[in-house]
């Protein structure tokens, strides 16, 4: 990784909630802060923008301290080289699309004509040249999103911040806009931080994911490594895996007092075991022979899941199993029913919990 353009440790105390997120972003890199609602993602973004002061830590952009409480360093929002795309865009309703985009350059000392030329150029780049004189209320959601992006980029920010950039769009628009947004973010030479609770947005748009839960970073890495090796239940749920933590010894990971899962990898110490719900087999009685990971549980819930049926089974460990509708019908699954669970060792994936 090249030298970080943005180097930050965001510490914000808000009552009983404490945000503490270290964040380094290289030039041209897109980092997604991914986490559930209330994880502190938006607070982190507001701290980067200077809309919320840090309690401690620092925000350093291109070697300049924008916020460092320890040495009383503070650059107000309007003097930070940033661009922000807000969740509901916040396009000024009294200005045309063109004047919305020209607003930033004008405030940066560019004269009216040059600012409008820049704005026209940016509207052209986001494919809205023909909508320059529309008011925000005359734009569709997708168009407003693109104007908001053009407005944020028109000041050539070193740091681009996006708060749930696609959350306000319907599913169809979202797909198109996501692809287009990806193109613009890839072309942005500065650092980009985007905040989202949607793993698909994060995976599609970002080079690196930073997973935040309860104000802390719980996992960090590129898309494939995060999805293959989840480290918290939240991430496991996002990527649709069963995840357990336990103590590994040789090929066994003890995930519950009376249950040790046999895994393909040889490990020692604290470890995670992950496997797909589709790798879980359900049997009406104790299966004979091959699968070594077998335990008895009770059916806790049955739901349609895509083409399959997802069955929640309580037991020494809670597990989600995907079975075909035919199998589900044959098993006569009803909540409270006793059932046997089996997972092949070759279908599991175990990795150390530390490092």
């Amino acid at each position: 990784m090249s030298a970080a353009l943005l180097d930050a440790r965001l510490v914000v105390d808000r009552g009983t909630f404490r945000l503490d997120v270290p964040l380094r972003v290289a030039p041209g890199e897109v980092v997604a802060l991914l986490g559930p609602n209330g994880a502190g993602k938006t607070t982190a973004l507001r701290a980067l923008a200077g809309l919320h002061p840090l309690t401690s830590g620092h925000v350093t952009l291109g070697g300049v301290d924008l916020d460092r409480p320890a040495s009383r360093g503070w650059v107000p929002t309007e003097r930070r080289p940033i661009g922000v795309v807000f969740q509901d865009y916040l396009l000024f309703p009294h200005l045309s699309a063109l004047d919305n985009v020209a607003f930033g350059p004008r405030r940066h000392g560019v004269d009216r004509r040059a600012a409008r030329a820049t704005a026209r150029d940016w509207l052209d780049r986001v494919g809205l040249a023909g909508h320059a004189h529309r008011r925000p209320r005359q734009l569709s959601g997708g168009q407003a999103q693109r104007v908001a992006l053009a407005r944020a980029l028109a000041v050539a920010p070193s740091l681009l911040l996006l708060d749930e950039p696609l959350a306000a769009l319907d599913a169809r628009t979202r797909l198109d806009t996501r692809a287009e947004l990806h193109r613009h973010l890839s072309a942005h030479p500065g650092a980009t931080v985007l905040v989202t609770h949607d793993p698909l947005d994060a995976l599609a748009l970002a080079d690196r994911l930073v997973i935040v839960e309860g104000g802390r970073v719980v996992q960090e890495g590129d898309g494939p490594s995060v999805t293959a090796r989840p480290r918290t239940d939240y991430v496991a749920r996002l990527v649709g895996l069963n995840l357990y933590r336990g103590r590994a010894e040789d090929h066994g990971v003890r995930v519950a007092p009376e249950l040790t899962l046999t895994v393909a990898e040889r490990l020692d110490g604290e470890a995670f075991v992950a496997f797909r719900p589709a790798a879980v087999a359900l049997h009406p009685s104790r299966p004979d022979g091959s699968p070594r990971n077998t335990w008895a549980g009770t059916v806790a819930g049955v739901q349609r899941h895509g083409d399959n049926v997802r069955v929640q089974v309580d037991g020494p460990i809670g597990v989600a199993a995907d079975v075909t509708p035919a199998a589900a019908a044959q098993l006569r699954l009803i909540p409270g029913q006793r059932i046997w669970v089996a997972v092949k060792a070759s279908e599991t994936h175990a990795y150390p919990a530390t490092g």
Partner: protein
Amino acid sequence: MSRVLDTAAPRRRGRVPAALLIPAGLGLLFLVLPLAGLVVRAPWTTLPQRLTEPGALTALRLSVQTATLATVLCLLLGVPLAWLLARVEFPGRRLVRALVTVPLVLPPVVGGVALLLVFGRRGLLGGWLDATFGVTLPFTTAGVVLAESFVAMPFLVIAVEGALRAADHRYEEAAATLGADRWTTFTHVTLPLVGPGLAAGAVLCWARALGEFGATITFAGNYPGRTQTMPLAVYLALETDLESAIVLSLVLLAVSVGILVALRDRWMAGP
């Protein structure tokens, strides 16, 4: 069964009780009858001639001028005050807000007396103004403007503060991220956003200034051409020439109705 239910479903929930209907009708009559009386008793044949009498015209012109100047003064001082109350956290903000609304409930005559005590020739500031700049306010046209502003400003401040509170302050944050300082944000984003509320507040303020009587007559007196505004002229005419008073009152009534019509979307939009 469903047909029966349909026809039986009451369109109205029974009759309106007479105990409510009768006082309501009386209340409406009470509000409308005096205005109707004004219109009925108006000397319609001599109306144009009376309207163009020099006295009436002078009072009308003075009223419009002073009310307009008072509105400008209220805008210059009241909008920043409203912004401060709506956007800046400071100790004693609740107290300041309460103080701003005092002229709303204060009898205007008391306001006039208070103004005299401060700006009068021997008042707290008046003496100093007289000695330093040779400026005297009581019993001058400027005094009229001052008295009207004192009474009308709370209307403007309350309307604008309400509009500011209702406006989404995140637009101001968006402006800051685009490089706008607080003053530019105020002029380029905040003011346009609260434009309709500001206009309504200004009109309300102007109407209140136009009708001002108590504070004006106490602080500025009743000199035709200098401090005699329409309401003062009406009061004076009432003792000498009833028809004249009716004509002048009609003009004020017409202005009020005009303002109501202009603001009907804002103030009269019922559910």
